[in-house]
Amino acid sequence: MTVPIAAYLALSLGLLVLGLIGVMRRRNPLMLLLSVELMLNAGNVALIGFSRQWDDPSGQVFALVVMVVAAAEVVIGLGLTVAIFRNRTNLDVDELSAMKG
């Protein structure tokens, strides 16, 4: 055991916090989706790290499911972004206030 599992978890935490900062700072919907990808990858690093730690393929199965969910999320998210922002001049999620009461 050369690199402890805690190092992988710390890296995963750093990547998750980076993604959170991106979700909080960005107003461009495309950049929001990119930051969400960072957070999903942080989860994958932790899952595969645990899979290695306990020598169990379940963690890798879970990580592959997360990748499928990420692919589906990107398809729907980009489709929504194109459908909503095609006719607008600004690429900004703050513009989406049509449901505001």
Binding site: N41, A63, V75, N87
Partner: protein, 188 residues
Amino acid sequence: MASTTHRCWGTGRCRVGEQVLFAVAAIGTLGFGVGVVFFKDAFRAAVSLIGTLLSVALLFIALLAPFAAAIQVIVYAGAIVVMFLFVIAYLGDRGALPGPDRLDRWQVFGWLGLIGLGMFGTVAILDSTAGPARPAPDTTDVGSPASIGDAFLSSHLLAFEVTSLVLLVAAVGAVVLAKGAVQGEGGR
């Protein structure tokens, strides 16, 4: 030669290998991740995401998960980022709304939550014990496609079926959204 390299992993004969790989991949992951979050240009952020994803694939290799690393490169760097680049090219370079963020006054709660999460995670990692030593990998071989497929089709069959449903729903949703966009431009 190949078997020698394989036996070398995890048995401590090349102890430095995993550390070097981890250091390179960690620097790449966090460095390109900072690029994703802080680049103004959407195109540069997307290309920076490719760097992060490839570094994460290196981490998977360091964790003896070569199948997950291959899927990471093919699905993430090969498909998802390319779709991002297509949409960025399609929507073009547009600015944000002038003025501050609409949720600006709530942002302090977000930052407090972020700092709390970081502190909690750090304490949890520092507080945790290392656990039992990882067994040598060449006895069980958890990262091979065979063992992953075995786990998928035996104990995680429900997750496998749900995966197919999720992909079907995503495909149908993309078609419906694209149809609406085409109709919005005057086509059928």
